[in-house]
Amino acid sequence: MAKTITRTLGFFGKELGEVFRQPSLVLGAVLGPFLIMLLFGLGYTGSRPPIRVELVVPPGSDAAISLSQYMSSLQGPMRIVAVSPDEQTARRALVNESADAVVVLPADVGSFVRNGTPAPVRVLYRQIDPVDENYLNYVVRLYLADINRQAATVLAQEGVGLAHDLRNSLEQARGDLDRLKVGIARGDQASAVPALEDLDAQVEAIDARFGTALQAAPALIGNESSAANRRPSGTLVGTLRQRLALLREAIISGAASTQQAVLLAALEGDLASLIDLADRVAALPVETVISPYTAEMTNLAPTPPTYVGFYGPHVLALMVQHIAITFVALSLVRERGLGAMELFRVSPVSPAEILTGKLLAYGLLAILVAGGLTWLMVVAFGSPLLSQPLYFGAGLLLLTAASLSYGLLISMVSHSERQAVQLSMLVLIGSVFFGGLLAPLSSFTWPTRAVAFGLPVTYGIEAFRSILLPVDGLRWLPLAALLAMTVTSGGVSLLLFRREFERG
């Protein structure tokens, strides 16, 4: 047993000795990733340069000119760099890359609107980057939504002006009603009938001019007010006119004064309701009418999102995996290249002792590097990784173990250092693309996602993310997956190494 420990520690010491004889390698492993993160944190703004737009405004189109003026005044991801009357000239700007997009405004907006179809605003661009194309689409839709909202605002402002006119007409009707009341109260049919005629004409005029708007008004102001207001306003005008007709018959037929008084009171109530409605519509803020909803954002994450805070653990997982895989893969291949395996096969050392010694050495190294990186992230960037020290430690340990096992597997199938480096780089590239660093796993199709599930870094990132953003507590599945990877790839590697060791 003592000799087994001596042999294992022999490899452990030899591997560490070789690594620490190259301090630049260790410094590079620790400081390199940190400096990359620092540069990323300092240099990445998260914003894109504005999209340079050349506007094509057809000559003589007032609507297009005002649209272009409006677009020029907008602040946002688009910047109007030139206005041209000619589409061909603007297209040349696309070709010589002085503009990113050309926006062609419609010549006759009014005719489209009159025909009940939206006027097309054509956008031309030359783009080979699908992400940039999507971004341009998004920005254009944003701008058009804003333009449409602006158009709706103008219409709404007109509607509010209409409400003021309605109010005036209703006030005149109330004046006529007052005259009618006085006439009826005096029993003076000669003065009552003209007042009734005036009122009738006024109500008819209101119905003709505001009838449609009055039908839409309750939708604008809501149904929270009195029972009268809950009645459709269009019905209200109709009722008003029916009552006026009844009153006319009552006056002409000389009906009882009580019946006339009841009808007058009802008419007064109807007019009051309509005036109230007009007042409320006139008092509405136009912006609220057009954009009745606004977003209120609240981030419930325990820490505010920052690029370094979010990507730091990703880079940490990636570096641990890369260091562990590369060092172990190269170490065994180098032994073969040096001819040391022949000496090992003659000596009393066993395959398990060789692998254990190497894995302990490189495991310690990877954890030291990870520890240094974690410390820098916690101290310099305030990362909350150490808020769950036990979970973080277990995740780091298992990620290291799984990566070391993968490194062993690579060394078993590699015949030269070059091949081992190539395979290690392939794993690194695969990890960058599919491990969740650049894009979340959910954005990949299932067969591609299977590649991600075959990489230790995927689970490492998942585990570290669990600390940053706990969902119903910490997630244990990534740790179980890392353990399973360690056992399977480590077991297969040991079997292959034994076979290689004993082959003769």
Partner: protein, 339 residues
Amino acid sequence: MATLLGADRCLGARSEGTVAAGRRKLDFMGDIAVQLNNVSKRIDSVSIVKHISFEVAQGEVFGLIGPSGSGKTTTIRLICGVYEPTDGEVRVFGVAPRHFKRSHRERIGYMPQLFLLYPDLSVSENLSFVASLYGMGWLARRRRAKQVLEFVGLLSDRHKLMRDCSGGMQRRLELACTLVHSPDLLFLDEPTVGMDPVLRQRFWGHFRSLASEGKTLCITTNIVSEAEYCDRVAVLNDGRLVAIGTPLELRRLAFGGDVLELVADDMSWDILRTLDYVPDVISAQQIASGRLRILVKDASRSIPPVVNAVESRGVRVQSVREYRPPFDEVFARLVSQNG
């Protein structure tokens, strides 16, 4: 007596009488350390070693000599257990290498031909690592490292990095690594290759010194002249064992006897005819004026009758001595006779 192997190419059948191939008791040495019985090895259907049989006694310096590609390294690997024989049987300390226990392996020291140790480790770190492979504890390693580094003359360079060492120093360190665990049986695969003659002499001095301590050494070399330093030599060519014996036996085998060189005044052709009648003289040849090379069965017994015969013809003999042809010539003759 030299042993010649291979039924179809048996030189001994012509010069020394047939000696059966196979196992042979070494009565002048101790117990058998290594035994090969009709061993063959094929790699990728190419025969590298063909029906080799020999034994190495404990305490012997045994040389495996042959040109590059003759199967020396493969033979050593078969003995060490790196390879399994395709046919035949290998035994080391009476045990087949595939059944080696750790205790057997601890008795073996192996210096591979190509292992260059670790360039980023120092001399003493490399040595310490190899010692740890044999389970030597830290204190034992430290004590023993000093001894072996002193033995190979590297004690003052122990802190030097391997990559900063000269080729000779690296080879000496490899030897130190082979010796660090005090093995009884050493396999040294071309230990002197690429060395200057002075360093080679020093290495062979080390080997003889180890043999004097009772160690058994199996050494391969393609520097044929090094056969002189071995107790016994096996000559390999194209995977076959061409000849085996002491250097003296091999020389006799190659030339058919011992060679005398005689220098005399005013020698005539009659002298050669006179020597034909001297017992034990096989043949004689004048190589220069007043200088003869005489092939005899045994130099120690033949010198007096040869001198008498020459002087009986009235010629004064200035000198007569045994001429030892260089081993390159011996090797070339053995290979060509066997080819």
